[in-house]
C-alpha cells in the first residue's frame, strides 16, 4: 500500500494539513512539542482504525473543536481508494470512497502499519498489558478480523464482570458462553502469531547483536496454567473448566481472574528473563527485534511491507542500533514516515525519493531536500 496524498483537520494540534508524502521515505523535522508524533498518530489511526497510544479518542480532537478528520488516497496494487476517518468525542467513523463502511474487513483489507517508538523499550521493561497489546496488534495486522474478535472479548468480559458483581447466577453463566468463545479465538490468534514471530525474532536479534549472542525466546504464558495445545474448541473447553473452577474466587473479587486479559508474553534471552537479567543494550535490541520481526512476518505473508512509522527512534537507540535500523528501513521497499529533531541524523539515509517536511506549531511545510 502507498499513501498518495494526506489531509488532516483539527487532529490534535494540527489544524489543517494537506501533504504529498514520498512513496518511500518522508521525514518530519521539528523541535519538541510541534506536532510530529501527532502526524504519525493520524496516519496510524487511518490505516489501523486504532489509536497509536493508549489514549481516549476524544484527546485526538483539537482543543475547542467539535471533530477531527484524517483522509488519504491509498493505492493497493492498481486500485486507488479514498480512506477517511472522523473522530468526534466518544466515536470514530470510517469511510471508504466517501461511503460509510458496513464491514471493517473491506476497509482494512491490505492495510497494515507498524510503529517504532522510544516507548518500545517498555515492551521489555514494562508490565504485561503492553505485551498483550503488542501481540494483539501484530495479530490484527496479520488477520484484520482480530479487530472485531478482540472487541467482542472485551465486551463479553465487561458484561461478565458486571454479572459477577451483581451476584452471579444464571445471567453470569450465560455470559460465560460468549466470553469463552471469544477468549478461545483470541488465545488461538495469539498462539499463532507467537509461533510466526519466534523465528523472525531470532533472526533479527542475531543480526542486531552480532554472531555469538544468546538467542531470544518468546513464550506465551496463559493465566491459570491453561494449556495452549490443540484446536480452538479444545481451548474453549479448557477455558470453560478454568472459569468454572475459579467461580468462587471471581465472585469474591468481582472480576474474572483468568483468561487472555490476564496472560503474559515472556521474553527471554538465553535461559533468563530479558526484563530482569538483560543488559540495557540487550533489552533495546530485543524491543527493536520484536518490531522488525513483525515487519518481516508481514512482508513474508502479504508479499508487501507494511507502512512503517518511526517516531524519534534516534533519541532512544545508541548510534549502532540507530544506524542498523535506518539501514534496514532504507533497504526495505516500503513507504515510511520518520520523525526527528535533528536533520543531521537522517541525512545519510536520504535517497532521491526522500521528502523533508518541517513541523512547527502544528503547521507542516515542505523543506528543500
Amino acid at each position: 500500500m502507498r499513501i498518495g496524498s494526506l489531509q488532516l483537520q483539527d487532529f490534535r494540534n494540527l489544524a489543517e494539513v494537506s501533504m504529498e508524502p514520498s512513496p518511500r521515505l518522508t521525514v518530519l523535522l521539528g523541535a519538541n512539542g510541534q506536532g510530529k508524533t501527532n502526524l504519525l498518530e493520524a496516519v496510524y489511526l487511518l490505516t489501523t482504525l486504532r489509536p497509536l497510544r493508549a489514549t481516549r479518542l476524544a484527546e485526538l480532537v483539537r482543543f475547542g473543536q467539535p471533530r477531527a478528520a484524517v483522509g488519504a488516497t491509498v493505492r493497493r496494487g492498481t486500485i486507488e481508494r479514498r480512506l477517511s476517518v472522523e473522530v468526534v468525542p466518544g466515536q470514530r467513523t470510517a469511510q471508504l470512497d466517501g461511503k460509510p463502511i458496513d464491514r471493517l474487513d473491506d476497509y482494512l483489507d491490505g492495510l497494515a502499519a507498524v510503529c517504532f517508538s522510544p516507548d518500545d523499550l517498555q515492551l521489555v521493561k514494562g508490565g504485561p498489558d503492553g505485551r498483550r497489546r503488542f501481540l494483539d496488534r501484530a495479530a490484527f495486522n496479520r488477520w484484520p478480523a482480530v479487530l472485531n474478535e478482540s472487541r467482542e472479548y472485551v465486551r463479553a468480559l465487561r458484561e461478565r464482570n458486571a454479572a459477577l458483581r451483581a451476584g452471579g447466577g444464571e445471567v453470569e453463566r450465560s455470559f460465560r458462553g460468549p466470553l469463552i468463545r471469544a477468549g478461545a479465538r483470541l488465545l488461538r490468534r495469539r498462539r499463532d502469531i507467537v509461533g510466526e514471530l519466534g523465528p523472525r525474532l531470532t533472526a533479527a536479534f542475531t543480526e542486531i547483536s552480532g554472531p555469538g549472542a544468546p538467542s531470544p525466546r518468546l513464550l506465551y504464558r496463559p493465566s491459570g496454567g491453561l494449556s495452549l495445545a490443540g484446536a480452538e474448541e479444545e481451548l474453549a473447553g479448557r477455558l470453560a473448566e478454568l472459569l468454572e473452577a475459579r467461580l468462587h474466587r471471581d465472585l469474591d473479587r468481582g472480576y474474572s481472574t483468568a483468561g487472555p486479559h490476564m496472560d503474559d508474553l515472556l521474553l527471554g534471552i538465553g535461559e533468563r528473563a530479558a526484563r530482569t537479567y538483560g543488559s540495557q543494550g540487550q533489552q533495546r535490541a530485543f524491543a527493536l527485534a520484536l518490531r522488525i520481526a513483525e515487519v518481516e512476518n508481514l512482508r513474508a505473508v502479504q508479499q508487501e511491507a507494511p507502512l512503517l512509522l518511526l517516531d524519534d527512534v534516534s533519541s532512544e537507540l545508541d548510534p549502532e542500533k540507530n544506524g542498523y535500523l535506518l539501514d534496514y528501513v532504507g533497504a526495505l521497499p516500503a513507504q515510511a514516515f520518520l520523525t526527528s529533531t535533528d536533520r543531521r541524523l537522517i541525512e545519510p539515509l536520504a535517497g532521491p525519493e526522500t521528502r523533508f517536511f518541517g513541523v512547527a506549531g502544528g503547521v507542516i511545510s515542505t523543506l528543500d531536500s
Partner: protein
Amino acid sequence: MVADPIARLVRELARLPGIGEKTAQRLAFHVLEAGPEQARELAEAVVAVVRDVRCCSSCQTLTERDPCPICTDPGRDPKIICVVEGVPDLLAVERTREFRGRYHVLHGALSPLDGVGPSDLKIKELLLRLERSPTEEVLVATNPNVEGEATALYLQRLLKPLGIRVTRIAQGVPMGGDLEYADQATLARAVAGRREL
C-alpha cells in the same frame, strides 16, 4: 430570554434520545414557524401513538390490534415461536419470508453492564405463553453479538427442562452484527439453516 412555552417545548424535545439542546431549539422554532395546523397534527400524532399502540398480549410486539395480526393469522404455525430482541428484528425476519411460525419480542437483551436483567425482558410472558399453548420449537433469533448470544444461552437453559426444542439462527450473520442490518439473503440463510442450541 426565551419565552416560557418555548423553553418548555425545548426541554421536552431534549429529553428524546439523540437530541441535544441545540437541535431541540431548532426543532422548537421550526414548530413555531410551521403554524398551528402542523403543530396540532404533530401533537395529536404523539398522543395517538401512546394511546393506540400497545404490546400484543401474546407476542409482545407493538400493535394497534390486540392480539396482533400475526398472532391471529390462522395460516401461521403456532407450534414454533421465533424469539427476537425488538420489533425491527421481527420485521427483518418477516422480510426473509423464510419463517411461518409466530414471534415473541423480548424488548431488549440481557446486559448486566446496562442493568438489564431477566425481569426487564418479556421472559415471564414467554413462559406463560408456552405453558398455555403447546409449543414444539423456540427459534432464538437474538442479535449475533455478546448480549444476544448470552440471552440465547439463558433462554436455552430456561426452556430445555420444559422439553421444548430450542434452536438458534445459523452463524451466517456476521458476529458482532445486528439482525436489523443484516442483508436479507444472509438472514434468510441463517433462519433456514438454524441449529440445535
